[in-house]
C-alpha cells in the first residue's frame, strides 16, 4: 500500500488546508473562481511576478506537502494534460502579433509542460528524480503509476501531483470536443506518498490506466478481480462517468465539484481520502473516463476501518 501522508488542493472550492473538504463543497457554477491563497507566503515576490496561475498553485501545494513530511522527497512525479496554458497562449499571441523580430523569453520558457516540476524542484531545492507525465485525461494516473514504481524501488517519500489550468479559449473549444455539462476550471492537487505507514491512515492500493477505448464496467471488473475485492466491498465511488456497476447511492460525480479539467480526478482522490477518514469506511474507488477513450481506476483503502 502507498500511504498518503499529506494531500493539498487549490481548486475552485475552499479546499486549501482544510481537514474535510467534503463538508465545504458546493456545486461549481458558471463564472466560479479559483480559491487562491496568499502566494507570497510560498514564493518570493521577485519570482512570483513571473508565475502563471498553474505554477503558483503547484508550488504552494508542493510546499505544503514538503512541510508535512519534513524530509526531502526522493522523487517528484507530476501529471498535467495541457501544461502551462496561460504562458503558451501568451507566447503564441506574441508570435502572431510581435513587431520586430525578437520574442519575449519568459512566456516561452514557461510554456512547456515540465515547467511545473522543474519549478518545484528549484523552489524545494530538490534535485532528485523529476518527471512530468502528459497523457490526456489519464495524466494523473501515469504520474501515480510512476510514483508507485519509485516507492517500490525504495524511494521513501514521493511528491505526486496533478495540475491543469483553464483559459477562456477552452470555453470556446469545449462544445466542439466534449459533450459535458461541467464548467471549465483550474486545479492542483498534490500528495506526499510513501510505503512507510507511520501516522497515515489512508493509502492507495492500486492504480490502473488504459489509453484506448474500453468498456468501463469490464475494466472495473478486471481491476477489482485482480485485487480479489468484491464490488460490494466498495463503500463509495467518485466518478466522472456513468457506470451501472455500482448502485447510484454509492456514486458521487466529482466533476460537479471540481469543474472540468483533465486532471480533476486527483481532486476526486482528495475527496475520497477525506471521505474515508470522516466516515471511517474502508474502500473508495475513483473512476475517470473520457468519451474519446482513456480510463483510469484508483482504489483507496482506510487501514483504520473495520471490514
Amino acid at each position: 500500500m502507498y500511504y498518503i501522508h499529506k494531500v493539498a488542493s487549490i481548486t475552485h472550492q475552499n479546499s486549501f488546508l482544510q481537514n474535510d473538504i467534503n463538508a465545504l463543497l458546493v456545486e461549481i457554477t458558471e463564472g466560479s473562481v479559483l480559491f487562491a491563497p496568499d502566494y507570497k507566503k510560498y514564493v518570493l515576490p521577485s519570482s512570483l511576478r513571473r508565475l502563471s496561475p498553474i505554477l503558483r498553485m503547484a508550488v504552494a501545494v508542493a510546499k505544503e506537502c514538503q512541510e508535512a513530511i519534513n524530509t526531502p522527497f526522493e522523487a517528484i512525479s507530476i501529471g498535467t494534460a495541457l501544461g502551462c496554458l496561460t504562458d503558451t497562449e501568451k507566447f503564441l499571441n506574441v508570435v502572431n502579433t510581435v513587431e520586430g523580430d525578437i520574442l519575449s523569453p519568459t512566456s516561452f520558457i514557461q510554456s512547456t509542460h515540465n515547467t511545473i516540476s522543474g519549478l518545484i524542484s528549484l523552489e524545494l531545492k530538490n534535485h532528485s528524480y523529476n518527471m512530468t507525465h502528459t497523457q490526456n485525461n489519464i495524466s494523473f494516473e501515469m504520474a501515480l503509476i510512476d510514483s508507485i514504481l519509485c516507492c517500490d524501488e525504495g524511494k521513501s517519500f514521493v511528491l505526486l501531483g496533478a495540475a491543469d489550468e483553464g483559459i477562456e479559449f477552452l470555453n470556446k473549444l469545449k462544445p466542439i470536443v466534449i459533450s459535458k455539462d461541467a464548467f471549465v476550471t483550474s486545479g492542483a492537487t498534490f500528495f506526499a506518498l510513501s510505503k512507510i505507514k507511520s501516522n497515515a491512515e489512508i493509502g492507495i492500493v492500486a492504480c490502473q490506466a488504459k489509453l484506448n477505448k474500453v468498456s468501463i464496467d469490464s475494466e472495473i471488473n478486471s481491476f477489482l478481480g485482480n485485487l480479489q475485492i468484491d464490488s460490494a466491498a466498495i463503500d463509495i465511488v467518485y466518478s466522472n462517468c456513468l457506470t451501472e456497476h455500482f448502485p447510484s447511492e454509492k456514486m458521487i460525480h466529482y466533476e460537479k465539484f471540481s469543474g472540468l479539467y483533465f486532471t480533476s480526478n486527483a481532486f476526486g482522490v482528495h475527496m475520497a481520502h477525506d471521505w474515508l477518514i470522516e466516515q471511517s469506511k474502508k474502500y473508495a474507488l475513483v473512476v475517470n473516463s473520457s468519451c474519446e477513450g482513456g480510463i483510469g481506476l484508483i482504489l483507496l483503502r482506510n487501514d483504520k476501518a473495520q471490514d
Binding site: 521577485s46 511576478r49 513571473r50 510581435v98 513587431e99 525578437i102 519575449s104 519568459t106 520558457i109
Partner: protein, 83 residues
C-alpha cells in the same frame, strides 16, 4: 509622456512588477542586483525585446547591455542617442 516615465510604465507592464508604481522607480537607481529593483538576467532579455518592439532599437553589442540597462537614466540616454 516624458520618455523616462513612459519607460517606467513599460517596464512595470512588461516585467509584471505588480507592487510597484512609476513613482517607486528612481531615475538614477540601479535596476539590477540587490541595491535596485532586484531584476535578473531574464529581465535583461525582456529589456532587449522591449527596446526592439517599442523603440525599434537593436543592441548589436551584447557586452554593452550591462551599461545600457544600469538605470532608467542610462536606458533613456541610449534610446535618445539611437532614435
Amino acid at each position: 509622456m516624458e520618455l523616462k516615465e513612459q519607460l517606467k510604465a513599460q517596464i512595470i507592464e512588461q516585467l509584471n512588477l505588480e507592487d510597484l508604481t512609476t513613482a517607486d522607480i528612481k531615475n538614477d537607481a540601479p535596476l539590477f542586483g540587490d541595491e535596485g529593483l532586484g531584476l535578473d538576467s531574464i529581465d535583461a532579455l525582456e529589456f532587449i525585446v522591449l527596446l526592439d518592439s517599442e523603440y525599434s532599437i537593436k543592441i548589436d553589442d551584447p557586452s554593452l547591455a550591462r551599461e545600457i540597462f544600469y538605470s532608467i537614466d542610462s536606458m533613456a540616454d541610449f534610446i535618445e542617442s539611437n532614435k
